[in-house]
């Protein structure tokens, strides 16, 4: 019994102690992966905050944005123009979603809206692939991709720049939310739909803005993931990776999405590298969920989620 315990508890810790540089590499790899999870989770949080819609189609939006970008670049459009065009496409998509999906379903229960976004998910996957084809594409927007060594740890420029871009994006979003007029309106809507409506905030406009911002965040996430592993169908599945990040951080918290992403990213990598071999590996699929579940048992609303006060 004690042998088994020491194998599970002490063995991996000894491994960590014996090779700190490798451990550092694992942690940094986790931070970078976590940043990417955060980017996807951020799109969820934005929409959930402003409209209470749990947007399952975020993953499909990432795929759609990446496919559109690659498709445009394959047509010979220069990178900057393709980026701008894709952003425009995502904004048009936001208008379309608001008009066709959200407006007729206003005031419906959350689960109905959730289902509608799953329908949207199917639609976008089919649509994106029909427009641009289903084979794996290489995305190259000119980000550097070289490895170098720091203090005995191997690092990758691409991952570094991904982290940097994510950080910039989050800062910009924070400023947008806190300082601009629309940002204030967004926060008002997130607080209370009815109250926001009654003081004259146009709900429809706000929704379009939020979905557009989420679309652009999806574009950034698509570029990062696409540059890392090619643009392909599996991109749509990263939504599933972002879900534990969401419940860990709280559905309605932007800092939560970031912190949750980092915790999940690092935890997952450490778990996979040091504890994975003990149970036969490939634990990445569920480890994040179990980690998040353990957190939830202590704080049911996530780390940074708003405290749920219930009364009859």
């Amino acid at each position: 019994m004690s042998d088994a315990l020491s194998l599970v508890l002490l063995g991996p810790l000894e491994d960590i102690g014996s090779n700190p540089a490798f451990f550092g590499e694992v942690v940094i790899g986790g931070v970078m992966a976590g940043m990417l999870y955060s980017l996807v989770a951020l799109g969820f949080v934005l929409i959930f905050k402003a409209s209470g819609v749990f947007n399952f189609a975020q993953g499909a939006m990432v795929l759609f944005a990446a496919l559109t970008l690659v498709g445009l670049m394959e047509q010979g459009v220069p990178v900057w123009a393709a980026l701008a065009l894709t952003a425009v496409v995502m904004i048009v998509l936001a208008f379309g979603i608001e008009r066709v999906v959200l407006r007729p379903l206003v005031n419906q229960e959350h689960i109905i809206l959730f289902m509608a976004t799953i329908g949207l998910n199917f639609f976008l996957e089919g649509f994106g692939e029909m427009l641009w084809g289903a084979n794996v594409k290489k995305l190259d927007v000119g980000l550097p991709d070289k490895s170098f060594m720091v203090a005995g740890m191997q690092m990758n420029q691409l991952e570094l720049s991904a982290g940097l871009i994510a950080a910039v994006l989050v800062t910009v979003l924070a400023i947008f939310f806190q300082k601009t007029r629309i940002g204030r309106a967004l926060r008002a809507v997130a607080d209370d739909h009815a109250a926001a409506l009654s003081i004259g905030i146009p709900l429809k406009t706000i929704w379009v803005v939020v979905w557009s911002v989420a679309g652009i965040v999806a574009l950034v996430a698509g570029i990062m993931w696409g540059a890392k592993s090619g643009v392909q169908f599996s991109l749509a599945l990263i939504a599933l990776k972002a879900l534990p990040v969401l419940i860990l951080g709280g559905f309605d918290s932007v800092p939560g999405a970031i912190a949750g992403g980092l915790i999940i990213g690092v935890g997952e990598k450490i778990g996979e590298v040091y504890w994975g071999p003990l149970v036969g590996g490939a634990i990445e699929n569920w480890f994040a969920y179990v980690l998040a579940l353990a957190f939830l048992l202590i704080r049911p609303q996530g780390l940074f989620g708003e405290k749920i006060i219930e009364r009859v």
């Binding site: 379903l105 419906q108 289902m115 692939e129 036969g280 998040a292 049911p300 996530g302 009859v312």
Partner: protein
């Protein structure tokens, strides 16, 4: 319906609280069930039974299970595929380890295993609610599938990782395995669905169902009036997983014949959730309508372009199918967010008044 309850007086509580209080309803349902048992196996070909009716019945049972949990108890779950996998793998283990065991007993035991696993993963529901719970149940989905993939014991160390339904008989008729006829498997699936639909109907109109609905509508208020949340929620998980487990066992034994874990992945969970929502949350009939919709639409979408002489590229057809499927889901949600069961109810009301609508 076209007929009315006029002239049928209820003189006892029992007749007032019957599932079908009107005589004509009872007759119609009895005839429909008898017809379902007799007509398709005798008249329809193997294609209809194997590709349409058997999956419909299997999915209907799974949707019924999820509807008890999500529609009646208000607990959103995305772990259906995982619970169905538990049913399928434990049925496989039981059937191969005890070859003499009757296959019906195997199915029921498999359901019990799934129920136990469901209770274990239902424990967080006491603290976690809504979408948080939905995501938490995904932990069950991914963990269970990983477990069945990794541990060779579950597949009897088959190198392919596939479980195959062994041949078993009920009353001398071969009902599982490659040699069984589609008709026999159809009757078997129908018998299970008919019995468990009746059980579900009785559950939800009794004490248990009322407790579930109280928890769904306002859990704190329910707790104050004396509904025990722990027992009620775990019971919902147990019974729902029991249904899903049997459906999972049927999926392998009666429909697919052999399966790998991929058959139970997250797509299956979503598919069953679609059936519940499109059919109607909190409706036994809705589970059947939803299952019929989800089984029929892809078949319809695959066959239509072919039949009108349009030869589409396979990949393109697949993509269009995805798009139309997604579009249809949104369309149905917009037209009737409460599902097909509600549409049926409206139709019934209209027919009742027909031809004098006032």
């Amino acid at each position: 319906m076209i007929y009315r309850e006029a002239g049928q007086f209820k003189t006892t509580y029992a007749s007032d609280q019957a599932i079908f209080p009107i005589v004509q309803d009872r007759v119609v349902v009895a005839v429909a069930i008898a017809a379902a048992f007799l007509v398709p196996p005798l008249t329809l070909g193997d294609y209809w039974l194997q590709a349409v009716l058997i999956p419909f019945l299997v999915y209907a049972l799974a949707a019924l299970g999820l509807n008890l949990l999500t529609g009646y108890a208000g607990l959103l779950s995305l772990g259906t595929g995982g619970f169905m996998a538990v049913g399928a793998y434990s049925a496989f283990k039981l059937a191969t380890a005890f070859p003499g065991l009757n296959i019906i007993v195997v199915f029921l035991l498999a359901g019990l295993f799934a129920a136990a696993v469901g209770v274990a993963f239902g424990i967080p529901s006491l603290r976690i609610k809504g979408f948080y719970l939905a995501v938490a149940t995904l932990a069950a989905q991914f963990f269970l599938i990983w477990l069945f993939n990794k541990v060779g014991w579950f597949v009897n160390y088959a190198p392919s990782g596939t479980i195959t339904a062994p041949a078993r008989t009920v009353l001398g008729v071969m009902v599982t395995g490659p040699e069984s006829t589609a008709g026999a498997r159809y009757v078997m699936a129908l018998a299970f669905v008919a019995v468990f639909a009746l059980v579900a109907k009785n559950l939800v109109r009794g004490r248990v169902g009322r407790a579930w609905m109280a928890i769904r509508d306002r859990d704190i208020a329910a707790e104050i009036i004396g509904v025990r949340p722990l027992r009620t929620k775990l019971l919902a998980f147990a019974i729902s997983s029991f249904y899903c487990g049997i459906a999972g066992a049927e999926l392998v034994f009666l429909y697919l014949g052999s399966a790998e874990t991929i058959a139970f992945d997250i797509t299956l969970s979503f598919l069953v959730l679609f059936m519940v929502i499109i059919g109607g949350l909190g409706s036994v009939l809705g589970s059947f309508l939803g299952a019929a919709f989800i089984v029929l639409v892809p078949i319809f979408l695959t066959n239509v372009p072919h039949n009108i002489g349009l030869d589409l590229d396979v990949a393109l057809a697949k993509q269009i199918e995805l798009m139309v499927f997604g579009g249809l889901i949104i369309f149905f949600l917009i037209v009737e967010p409460h599902g097909l069961a509600r549409l049926w109810q409206i139709t019934k009301e209209k027919l009742r008044m027909w031809p004098f609508p006032h």
